[in-house]
Chain length 208, copies 2
């Protein structure tokens, strides 16, 4: 866990490890990927992988190049409680994308859409790091579904506002987007009726 005083490598060794990690995580999934396997594919010693990235989780996040850390922002968004969480999520999402961090986020989306391995990597990251954290904090039934629905609305907003740039979403203010999308996210996150409706056709709903 201890970092050395050396700057993180920026040369070809570090890049070779990340390329191997992208391929391994993409094909084998998070669980099926090992530091040893990544090191073997990159033709380096496993200790060197640990030196650069500290842990399997560290390699995973570096491989995806996701510019914000869910371990940091999710607890902050959840801290004030469930009330108003939908609006806080929209505001945080829009302000993050509108900031310089938006460019690398767009790169993550572009690579996931263009490449199967990158899509698998993003799926695992979103599932583990974003939806998983959010789901564990929600004391409601079907937390994984609720988090995925939230993600679907936010990713769609990113596509229309930043990728395809459809008006009036492209030039709307954060406050407008919060007012339009906040209630959607709040329903996905906290409405007890949400999952009953969705499952009534296939099985009896059991909340909590």
């Amino acid at each position: 866990m201890a970092r050395t005083g050396r700057r993180p490598g920026t040369g070809t060794t570090r890049e070779r490890i990340l390329a191997a990690a992208r391929s391994d995580f993409g094909k084998g999934g998070y669980e099926g990927t090992t530091i040893r396997g990544i090191a073997a594919q990159a033709k380096v010693d496993p200790a060197l992988v640990m030196h650069y990235f500290d842990s399997k989780d560290g390699v995973f996040r570096a491989a995806l190049q996701f510019p914000v850390d869910p371990a940091d922002f999710i607890p902050k968004l959840l801290a004030p409680g469930l009330e108003g969480l939908g609006e806080r999520l929209v505001r945080f999402f829009v302000e993050t994308w509108d900031s310089p961090v938006g460019t690398p986020l767009l790169a993550v989306i572009r690579s996931a859409v263009g490449n199967e391995d990158a899509a698998a990597l993003l799926r695992q990251f979103v599932t583990r790091e974003v939806l998983g954290r959010l789901a564990r904090a929600l004391e409601l039934d079907k937390p994984q579904l609720r988090a995925a629905l939230v993600a679907s609305q936010l990713v769609g907003l990113a596509m229309l506002r930043y990728v395809v740039r459809v008006e009036p979403l492209a030039s709307a203010s954060a406050a407008e987007l919060v007012a339009w999308l906040g209630p959607t996210l709040q329903r996905y996150l906290t409405d007890p009726g949400l999952t009953k409706e969705g499952t009534r056709r296939t099985r009896r709903a059991s909340s909590a």
Copy 2:
């Protein structure tokens, strides 16, 4: 307008016209693009462009390779009235993507995400053909905004279900998705309070 008995060309001339059209529509927009300009760039006679595609609108749709025709499906979805429109839209969207048409739709999304001209083409198509038609049929304030919000939720669903394939959205049934997302779309389409909330911070709301 009359079609000849010849089969649509599949060789290099037709492809060259479509490549020129993608570039022209992407850079100049729908309004700024002419049959004559496309023909000049493709180094063919304008009559040949008309022969293959009948109209500027025909070249536009062929250039995008959008596999379903909004002039066909939007009136059908709207015919029963505003009640239940959100659910009908989700069902139609999911059933279309789950059908063989889903593969070319995914190709449209991929190219828009990977390429600026393709993104511009998709933006114009979505704005003119999909949102425009939907907006004209909605007898409510801010129809363009309402249609864009609907599109944001549906595109996000497509991204999570078909591109990144996040569970439980990836394997949910159409009925479940209708129950989860239908109320979201219905609010975007018909809630009179939607646009008041969004604009109260910047100007007085004035509903139609």
